[in-house]
Symmetry: D3
């Protein structure tokens, strides 16, 4: 059963709108991923998670479509390493809004913004806050690794959640495209030890930081601990969790607009 929007014909997509298919838009980036991984990691993982989630939904007879990944994200913090593409906030928001408006005009009523890049996270929440009441339509937004946080923590050995070009991302790449992992360059991925800043910028205190100021290699985490098995386990846990959440009617039945209060 085909769920890739781009592979379908217009008549098939009109039929999906009549079936009230959920439309998933993966949003990611092209940005440096250390000395051993290609810049497409977030885009490829976003595509993969979206595809596997769609398969879980179809298995439950929930119509679903997956748009192509938006590979133009917010990655200023990676620019110093080269190879990275970034938009500014306004262009990024206009891009998401343009796609969402097109989808809604064809009669779809449920949009999922599936984020696969840390740098997009704050902006996508702001965009969701803006678009939902403006368009009056349910928009569900998440960054994929939060959907199965407990399972992820169990699978990983050297970190509690996803970091960057790390045990987790490297493992998932080993699972799906081992030919794109430069295993011999993983030793270069060791970051210079940086001071423990959890007292400084933890506890809710937020500041933008260039990745270059945090890691000379561009890696945050330990890719040496990655294995294909862990990668497969991560992808399965994540897509299973997402599949369950997205076909829960309660997620979509809640009101999405303001109603006036009267005394």
């Amino acid at each position: 059963m085909q769920y890739e929007w781009r592979k379908l014909r217009a008549d098939q997509l009109r039929e999906q709108a009549r079936l009230d298919a959920i439309v998933i838009l993966p949003v990611a980036s092209l940005e440096q991923h250390g000395p051993h991984l290609p810049v497409e990691v977030d885009s490829l993982l976003g595509e993969t998670v979206a595809a596997r989630t769609a398969e879980k939904l179809l298995a439950k007879r929930q119509p679903v479509l997956v748009l192509p990944v938006l590979w133009t994200g917010l990655s200023e913090h990676h620019m110093s390493f080269g190879g990275t593409v970034t938009l500014d906030n306004a262009a990024f928001a206009a891009l998401i809004e343009g796609v969402a408006r097109s989808v809604l005009r064809h009669g779809f009523k449920r949009i999922v913004l599936l984020n696969a890049h840390g740098g997009n996270e704050n902006a996508l929440r702001t965009i969701t806050d803006d678009l939902t009441p403006k368009l009056g339509v349910p928009i569900v937004q998440f960054t994929y690794w939060y959907a199965a946080a407990v399972a992820i923590a169990k699978i990983l050995e050297t970190q509690g959640g996803l970091q960057h070009a790390c045990e987790a991302e490297t493992a998932m790449m080993l699972a799906i495209r081992p030919d794109l992992v430069a295993i011999d360059r993983i030793p270069l991925a060791k970051s210079n030890p940086t001071p423990d800043l959890s007292d400084v910028v933890g506890g809710g205190v937020y500041r933008w930081r260039s990745i270059g100021s945090r890691s000379s290699s561009g890696v945050i985490g330990n890719p040496e601990a990655a294995t294909p098995g862990k990668g497969e386990a991560l992808l399965d846990a994540i897509s299973t969790a997402l599949g369950e959440k997205l076909c829960n009617p309660a997620l979509w039945d809640l009101p999405w607009t303001s109603e006036n209060v009267t005394d």
Copy 2:
């Protein structure tokens, strides 16, 4: 020692720039706060937390200034209750940028965006991501209640952290302006029981929701448990934690701009 920017003369403010004073900009909102609290709660608490934090810093001989609160925040989710003022994302970002640029032109080098309103949180992080590399200057951003999360959890009895017009906010209002708390109306603050949605929208799945869809009274939490003593304890814990963080040189010494990587 005067720390309120608005009360100072231009010559005094030029002197503060020479002393490299930290400049705190409280950002809040005017929005409904249930049947018992005025719409200024977030603005008043933002002003109060900023003032107490400034006093802690001055006690450590750290020059500091506090700008007046920006009371025009992002509160679309409260609009259905009346009494609420909201901007759109673009106006909110332009407002913050305008103030930040003015401050920097006078020679100040350290800006703190002290947020006191949940609805501003995502947008302020996006704005911080945008402004920091663009202006090349340290901007520290936080929502005040995250700065002392453990202490707050200990003080409260019916909730783990701040909610809305709740035990915590009501307690702080009782501590600083009891005349503005309509105690006799607290019984009206009970929300209609809403279904437990933690399985639906928890786990990283995000959606914008009107407060009216979550609580018929506009309250989330239990104001009946509020006492002035808890309020005082909360304000003290928060301002103490913030004062320590902001005068830590490590917070400001980290690089704030991109540097190119060379092979």
Copy 3:
């Protein structure tokens, strides 16, 4: 009777909308006010005039609300002195529009933009021209000192109307917050004599000018002539005049939208 929007609860503000209360938005600035006055002068006087005007209206049983002052004005011409905050035109207009739209969505039908800063004047008229037909609602705009020009001229001894950090502004500050007037620094307020330019830029010829090019002290006018009594008289004359104008039904009954002409 409470007229401060921020001090009221949402249910009280909904009631005020039903009563068709007039909503006053004071718009001012934080900008240098010479060697003897704090940067908040325009904001504080805007708040004070709004409050006194509201009291006059309430005395006539006209429901009225006063929003907090917008302290982020247009003050590029004061920036060279430090201590000043300025927005650009677009941000300033977006801010006013955001507040006006929020107020109207709650059912209020009459908005007053009470300006207290010379630098905002042209822009606020342009904004009023834009918003009135676009929103289809009566917006009344004025700069407070024009409302009682004759009375003001009678009270002042060294100038015909308000200037900057001058006899009039200093007098009003002496009336309401003498602790914020550095009387000993008033002698520094003397401007270098500047050439008489009335032939050059008078007669309707307009050019933007930095205050620094007009006065080395940042003062235009003579603060030495200020007394608390004059200040009190000024505030009383202004708020009386405004109170009379704003409760005149003719001000609000005029049509506010275009109607097509038919031959």
Copy 4:
């Protein structure tokens, strides 16, 4: 001596830049002018005043150029009568800025925004405030009828200054293009008597008003009193006054940018 920018060749305009010619940009509108005048009145008078002023300057050996009139002004208040073209504020400002930037890039250093339409007045002052410090160049702005207010008042019999499609505008049209004045339709120009609102909207209180709410004919003033002789006298007085002002070196020698103040 040719002063019309559009009639000159590029080499001649480069020569004018080397001579530091003053560049006059007439800004006007196409909007209804009552039952007896064409919609071009403001544009034609703007062109005429600019041309006559240029002739006065050339007679004093002051190099000067006149750009074609910008006929796209701000005329929402006239739209209900038909025949009117209006821009919104943002487009109008962008248009002025685009022309000004082009002129400056060619080496000219003095720009005059000669306004001939009441609806543009506030916006042009705001634009002047924005562009002058941003571009760092002298921009002089005026609405032509303020330049000779005393002389104008003496010439007119039924009004103190310019109104709309009135004694003054009709007189100037009779002087320069009598064929475009429908004399037989002047009796239709009588406005319905409107209530005297000087107490309501005078005294600095400002509100946008559709012309249709002020005059059923679209005329404000008394065109019956117009004569060609008055028109000629008006144009001569205005261009003489402007010619004197614009070739006064003091107008251009004043500083145009901010300079920092040091203690």
Copy 5:
């Protein structure tokens, strides 16, 4: 019969709207036209073509109006020669949209964007693509010289179509305003021979190029071959062709909006 919008009164223009007059907006530029022609060439030819086309339409009893030329076009590629005015894309689009919206609000239903400047061509097509479905109204756009390409090619001897300050433009200027052609400077119009780049940038490959990189004189083509007779023939062929096209009902009867397809 008067067709110039600016020369008409509001009542006459309301009548034209009732008659469903076609509204022609000439869009051109002020930009360098070599050593022998004034910068107004495109604006003057745009006005002339529009006027002659209107006369052809009136002769067929088709009501028509011509707005004044927009002389603020897109001419960055000519800026290096001086004397040129250019807008940026956004200002240019906002200007066209503002005029179009005004015209439509008065009840006109057919707009013609008559372009007379090569640099505007791509942008005007983009603007037409944007405005037509957004405003739901027929907008016809063309650059005048394409309307009679075959006839033009027959008239010219040294070039196949219009170039810049060339045989064709010079000829038309000789026909209508010979006093503005500096015949003695035509020998200066010879361009330095530039390499034949048809293999490089032809075949659909597009790049922006400064005119200065293509011709040291700013001329592309051969003005020496210009004669008044050719100019008159060009103007007649063009206006005849346009007149026929514009009064063809089929041009306006086609649908202008999207209709949904149903299976």
Copy 6:
């Protein structure tokens, strides 16, 4: 030799910048392609042409990179058929500018905007006109089918150039992804005969038209004439022509910025 940007690591991309690689950005769309083709046709053909062109360049030892296709184009004219995604002009321009700026910041100096969608054509030329002088860098733009117009015309039997979901597009899809062509649905692709409008909208007269007003099936052209062999021949001719053009040094050696002319 890898030329896909997304498959490379940051260190490899930094190396490509040092080698002055040409960077190709395919720009396309997702839009209806009649009853027999998927909506991805333009995106897939854009990717394919870019890839084959890159292979030709690498064979000539010209370093080259291909970014992922931008599948968010301008397709309002296809929206009525469903299945289509469109941006507005401003978002589309901001997206292209964001990618171009990122590429240039990493040291690349040559950008190719390879367009594969008719609806993008005018806008991309406008964007090229804007970005080239603003960024001061060579940007080459083309729509792929113009690059080999003569060869294409020879290969096709029923049309002179590319149309929509036509002989040519269907043939290329049959060559590269026959599984995505619904051959049994090609008979549905017959358009209702539409009147010959070449006299109406030909000859340079331009109007936006919904595809639905031109063809009830969404097809323009004759897909029945498509064969895989023609498709292969088309792709080979196009990529050969583009490969030759792009490695011609003359294409890149021309000046890209304005230089001032001095007399």
